[in-house]
């Protein structure tokens, strides 16, 4: 993913020395509207505490995501799914991943850009993206 630092984003002021990088999928004006189907991602490596989005995802989100994953992949109860579980480890292919995304969108009332959706590899990443989008929606 290409990352570019956009200095015109007002919500990031004031920032500490470690800046957050936004990666814009399409470099056209994105802040005219607040639609949730904008696709941008936060790189988690450097995260100022002042930003509204939290690093640690809620356990509740992780559990809901895990439930949806288990349902989509028809997993049995003894097949454990945790935050770090990779979908591919469970045998999910790209069609499964997209179906999981649809399930997550329905559950949380959000919309994920397809490119972002297909790149989700773990439960943790799904939960992070969900919380990001939910936050943005309710902000």
């Amino acid at each position: 993913m290409a990352s570019s630092f956009c200095s015109s984003i007002s919500m990031q002021a004031p920032i500490s020395a470690k800046t957050t990088r936004f990666s814009l999928q399409k470099p056209v004006s994105i802040f005219n509207n607040r639609k949730t189907n904008l696709s941008f991602s936060l790189h988690r490596r450097s995260m100022p505490a002042r930003l509204a989005v939290s690093c640690a995802v809620k356990q509740e989100t992780v559990e809901k995501v895990s439930e949806i994953v288990k349902k989509q992949l028809s997993l049995t109860d003894d097949q454990k799914v945790t935050a770090g579980t990779k979908f591919t480890e469970l045998g999910a292919d790209s069609l499964d991943t997209v179906e999981i995304v649809m399930g997550l969108e329905e559950e949380f009332g959000i919309t994920m850009a397809e490119e972002r959706a297909k790149e989700i590899a773990t439960v943790q990443q799904a939960a992070e993206l969900i919380e990001e989008l939910v936050q943005e929606k309710t902000a």
């Binding site: 056209v28 989509q72 097949q79 480890e89 469970l90 179906e99 649809m102 397809e114 297909k118 790149e119």
Partner: protein, 300 residues
């Protein structure tokens, strides 16, 4: 019969299993499709031999998968790629164990020929896809290839049209919504999925280069057996124009494999074949054991 011969070889500590039988290269605009049915590969010594072909990182990836079936299929997939590519080299000059792989800048796997610079290496391209019950590898010469396979009976957990509206192009949604029978609609949805995936994989630039709703694949009016690609919107440098540009750069083929799967192939069209349809040679294989030419692959 062949299996017992190999067990004997193993017991006598022979270094090799029977040699791989070499193969003639695909001709231009021809795709060779190789598939393995995992339920036909049961011999533990054969599987052990396969595992010895894998690189350490491949072995790691296999071991991370959950469950024996997933591990076995991943092992078979890597074996299929390594043995197939090795067989196309002249005079069996390449040991499948020694093949190295790398990813292009977008993550598409390709062969790394750095150790073979002085050999006469043909410009092979490959791509793999697999389901629970089928492992497939497509090979071409000179042109990029993408393949995707899906179980014909695969059930979509969401409503097919809702799924299409969310992810496919408007024209594709229109096409699917004209199909009255839900079962046929589901089948057409799956076929479209494999064709679209095959294209994105052939392109090799990652998912973001070709989101599913930015292109339409449809069957050509004249012959039901061919598919063409039309991009539904093209972003030019100056403006966001919407144009309907039908691409002549990519050739598609869709077929039924092993009576159970749809397989889509997409290759770059070198424009030299004058619009002729793609030739596909399909063979079922068990590496080191046998090949079977499938002459009756139904082109859809």
């Amino acid at each position: 019969m062949r299996i017992s011969v190999m067990s004997q070889l193993q017991r006598s500590f022979s270094m090799e299993f029977p040699s791989l039988v070499s193969l003639k290269l695909p001709s231009p605009m021809e795709t060779h499709l190789w598939y393995i049915r995992p339920d036909e590969v049961k011999s533990p010594s054969l599987l052990k031999h396969y595992s010895q072909l894998l690189s350490p990182s491949e072995k790691d990836q296999v071991s991370q998968l959950r469950g024996d079936a997933l591990k076995k299929n991943a092992l078979l997939a890597r074996t299929l790629v390594r043995t197939t590519i090795a067989r196309y080299q002249t005079n069996n000059a390449v040991d499948p164990r020694s093949l190295m792989f790398k990813k292009n800048i977008y993550g598409k796997p390709e062969v790394d020929w750095q150790n073979y610079k002085n050999c006469n290496i043909p410009p092979l391209h490959f791509n793999i896809s697999h389901t629970d019950s089928l492992i497939v590898c497509g090979v071409t010469v000179h042109v990029p290839i993408g393949i995707d396979v899906e179980d014909k009976e695969r059930k979509i957990k969401h409503d097919v049209l809702a799924f299409a509206e969310r992810f496919y192009s408007a024209d594709e949604v229109k096409f699917l919504s004209t199909i009255p029978d839900p079962e046929s609609q589901r089948k057409e949805f799956i076929k479209l999925w494999t064709l679209k995936e095959a294209y994105v994989k052939a392109l090799g630039k990652g998912f973001s280069a070709a989101p599913f709703n930015t292109f339409t694949i449809q069957s050509k009016a004249e012959t039901k057996e061919e598919y063409s690609l039309c991009k539904t919107s093209e972003m030019t440098a100056s403006s966001l124009e919407k144009t309907n540009k039908c691409d002549r750069e990519w050739k598609f083929a869709l077929l039924e494999l092993a009576d159970s799967h749809y397989a889509a192939i997409c290759i770059e069209d070198d424009q030299a074949s004058g619009g002729a349809p793609m030739r596909v040679i399909v063979r079922k294989t068990i590496p080191f054991v046998e090949d079977e030419l499938i002459s009756e692959s139904k082109l859809l």
